[in-house]
Subunit: 330 residues, 2 copies
Amino acid sequence: MPELRRDPVSGRWVIISVERGKRPSDFPVRYHTKRGGFCAFCEGNEYTTPPEVYAIRPDGSRPNTPGWTLRVVPNKFPALSMDGETWRVAEGIYDKMNGVGAHEVIIETPDHNMTLSDLPLKGVEDVLVAFYKRISELEKDERLKYVLIFKNEGDAAGASLEHSHSQLIALPIVPRIVEQEIENARRYFEYKERCIFCDIIHQELLTKTRLISENEDFVSIAPFAPPSPFETMILPKRHESSYRPDSKISLLAEILQRTLKQIDRVLDKPPYNMMIHTAPLRMEKSEYYHWHIEIKPRLTTMAGFEWGSGFYINPTPPEDAARFLREAEI
Amino acid sequence: MPELRRDPVSGRWVIISVERGKRPSDFPVRYHTKRGGFCAFCEGNEYTTPPEVYAIRPDGSRPNTPGWTLRVVPNKFPALSMDGETWRVAEGIYDKMNGVGAHEVIIETPDHNMTLSDLPLKGVEDVLVAFYKRISELEKDERLKYVLIFKNEGDAAGASLEHSHSQLIALPIVPRIVEQEIENARRYFEYKERCIFCDIIHQELLTKTRLISENEDFVSIAPFAPPSPFETMILPKRHESSYRPDSKISLLAEILQRTLKQIDRVLDKPPYNMMIHTAPLRMEKSEYYHWHIEIKPRLTTMAGFEWGSGFYINPTPPEDAARFLREAEI
């Protein structure tokens, strides 16, 4: 009999097909090799992007010229605009506000053929530092309430450009998925006086059935009730509400790279989405919220049932997914 | 500047690209013509499905033989199982329950090459009646709390079989998207003493900018803040909390068919999902909830931003979508 499981953080119920669990080879391969052609993110084409707002480049090298190892530029076709004040207004019974916010692209490497998982460890570290630097910078803008960092790898995951990059959208409101996580975590804390994420980490390190890997400061797990196959979550072991890797950055880079390599190996470089969930900007240190990274290989299609119900059917139990990933030779 | 709009029913915020709105021809064509081959849903192959639980067939014709115009059969690979009682149990800090529920397929026509929008009006009526008959039957089972009716048309919308069909999943809990709609509608009613859906219908009939079509009893509109392009909602004009079309069934069939034909015409038979949102089973008539049908053409890819935030970017303002659909020659 299938099992219904509830994700304690989102409150989402998921149907897990325990009996006829799908193995990695049951998913159609969707990865497309890169096609090449002109690419605005390649070294030498710096003039085709908006001017960089952050870069890692040798001392003395001029902005928007070759020689960099990482660049952050505003998105040429931004979903939100940085002009003007935020206002809210009614349209009859409806509510709207103007689209103030930032939309930036983190170009992770000058090399068109690399992916985040192929980069040297230092390259992954640089990307993680860039995330933090941009969040810190945007935090100064009082109009902005939240910065969401995310990555779409591969066509099927929504990437419109194949050169390896992440994105950042800074929003004038806290997005509802984060708000729900915070609210659920707050209610759990009220009842238990413990952080729900700390409890999850404790239980996963104890049972080990959904553990993928760990190092001194971080843990990589398959969540108990993931909406789709082979989802992975990376969390700091010590309680920390905001993404601020500081000195532990090399350990975070290490576990992120290892997890991505495991996913690449087991699922043959699948398309995936990656998101960082962290506390809202300028929120004080919280006892109940705990930042984390979510990685979601795109192996299944969201259909009418999922759209209509918010319920998900996951054909691969996370215990199986964790075992495949844990045992991958990378 | 883009506009942020809030859907009053779901509470979801959507970024609407007002300035450079995408037109129908901007979306890549994703429709696949049918490939044929052996099909378990075709007339003559009744023996390959589980025995039918409902059918429209000539008087005297035996179940599970040819001659039918519509069949409802249990899904051969059900997501949930009808055996046993429901129980809930903890697994450490986690919650789970067993997967009790029904999963049925409504085979809408014996003809492999038809789609729901191609059927004669009587065929669409039969499908809508079948939905109601199955809900009424499953409502007797006290273990079940909700029946979700949905349809996946086309590969990209998650249809694994190309023969035109809808599905029904009966669940032991009310799914969270419906629960959120009910909760938001209840709060609105508490404050206004009016049904939020009735208010939406009133405003849309007044302004007409998002109106797609109407008849005596139903209205078809583009919602104010749809998460994706060309979404459409069909609602009964008179307040009614549960899907129970009764005598108005021919008017519902008429507007549903017209709307699907408009979508087919404007977007070149796109893949789409359709869902019916109705009050939970055995819920008393409610003053604040109002059943409706949602149709969601699948033109965009859900990416990391949407997964991570629950926020959506819609490149086609619903006012534009409604105009294209309204003016379609069908």
